[in-house]
Amino acid sequence: MSDAVASTGAGAGVARRLDGRTAVVTGGGAGVGEGIALTLAAEGANVVVAARRAENGQPVADEIVRRGGSAMCIVTDITRRDEVARCVDETVARFGGLEIMVHNAYSGGVAHELQDLDDDLWDQNSGTAVWATFWCAQLAFPHLQRAGSRGRLIVLTSPSGIEASANLAVYPAVKGAQRAIVKTLAHEWGSYGITVNCIAPVAVTPSIGRMFDAVPELRGRVEARMALGRVGEPEHDIGPVAAFLAGDGARYVTGQTIVADGGSFMGL
């Protein structure tokens, strides 16, 4: 864990929509999580970059501070309840509250067919996607409840959790499960004003980058399906969707999945 560093920068004096609020972003050290962390910070939030490795998370926190924002990195293994609890506790101790919990971290996206699935790969998928959603939600809840109508749980799912994938058997299952948890929590927490939503992004991340490297024609095939013709960029294409859901403008949006995929999936 690094020391928290806060400063005022370019945005000082101009009201931003997340001023005074605190967000935790799991998997905030790379990819979509990094993009969301940078965007929420630019909108004024104190951001906790929860990352499994400090060498990923700390540079993101440092970049936020360099840009004049407020951030800290908390090294967190989100497949352990006690570590999620510690992350939440340290966040509240440092910033005085927690309004926005973003669960983005995931691992286990290794191509497989179900007949070849082994326990380790299932445990990674179930642990990072579903168990961690349960723990992030449950352990953040007292603070989100205190935040009332500013309380937000945002879970990163995938278009694959809606229409499945041919090369990943259990990834669609765990991503679909996240959407069911989100819909249920929207009901269970609605009376407090807390909103609970999913984002289903397609964006350039280290893992997708490796897939594109391994299968060079894949990028073209993916982009050909997209109305906007390009794979999204985490900070500028996905981050603003999270900022919208985190802000007051989305206080009447709950239980939903916003598909931010450049216009590939249009099945809703």
């Binding site: 699935l117 349960f134 041919a166 058997a169 299952a173 679909g176 499960a177 069911a180 249920t184 269970e188």
Partner: protein
């Protein structure tokens, strides 16, 4: 008496649930040979089915482990004299039927409802694949609509139902080349979950007036989903809740 499913060997899990038991009876009436698989609570209707003239066997099996599911499918196939061609999967842990808000879940409960339900679904499909990979087959998941809609008090169960529904879609994509079709039959939560009434996302009552009778209303739909005529349907979610939910699944 030849029926639409004559000559098929169907494994049915979760027949302790009335909705699955009714579907099993309809499959039997359509000529399928039935193997009830699972813990003893899911095998109790074997005598009733037998009394109705269904060719049926009951196999106690530990379905949450791959080896247990494979042993169960092997025993079913041996008892009924042919490879398994149909899986109707509805297995659930009893605790999944009881409401509990997410904030009140402990890890043991989450494990029983989410983890065991998913491991059981995965193991059963893996076991089914061994029987179907060279000759094709049919898999139908029976799940309440609570996964589609979310349901107060049923976060872990809703996660599992939607996990199963998306697993069905993924398997439809993966195993289509083997001639295996995989679909989901979504039923009213009123038929499955305790205290789930009134948690529909729709303000509407069932258009058809009720959640349906398992054997008379849902059974014929399951028979159609498993019959020859529907061999080109895969990756689908068929919502048969009496006309409550009408959003795109």
């Amino acid at each position: 008496m030849p029926g639409a499913l004559a000559g098929r060997v169907a494994v049915v899990t979760g027949a302790g649930l009335p909705v699955v038991r009714g579907i099993a009876a309809a499959l039997g009436a359509a000529g399928a040979s039935i193997a009830l698989l699972g813990p003893s609570r899911d095998l109790e209707s074997v005598d009733e089915l037998e009394a109705r003239g269904v060719r049926v066997t009951a196999v106690e099996a530990e379905l949450s482990r791959r080896a247990g599911a494979e042993a169960g499918f092997a025993a079913a196939s041996d008892a009924l004299g042919a490879p398994v061609g149909v899986l109707v999967h509805g297995a659930l842990e009893p605790i999944a039927l009881e409401p509990c808000d997410l904030v009140d879940h402990d890890d043991e409960r989450w494990s029983l409802v989410w983890e065991t339900t998913m491991r059981t679904a995965i193991s059963c499909c893996q076991a089914a694949f061994g029987h179907m990979r060279d000759r094709g087959g049919r898999i139908v998941f029976v799940v309440p609509s609570s996964g589609l809609s979310g349901a107060v008090g049923f976060s872990s169960a809703a996660a599992a139902f939607e996990g199963e529904r998306l697993l069905a879609k993924a398997l439809a994509r993966q195993w289509g080349r083997h001639g295996i079709v995989v679909n989901c039959l979504v039923v009213s939560p009123d038929l499955v979950l305790h205290g789930a009434s009134g948690v529909h996302e729709s303000l509407s009552n069932p258009a058809l007036g009720s959640a349906g009778d398992p054997e008379r209303d849902l059974g014929p739909i399951a028979v159609e989903m498993l019959g020859d005529a529907t061999h080109f349907l895969t990756g689908n979610t068929l919502v048969a809740d009496g006309g409550v939910r009408m959003g795109a699944p």
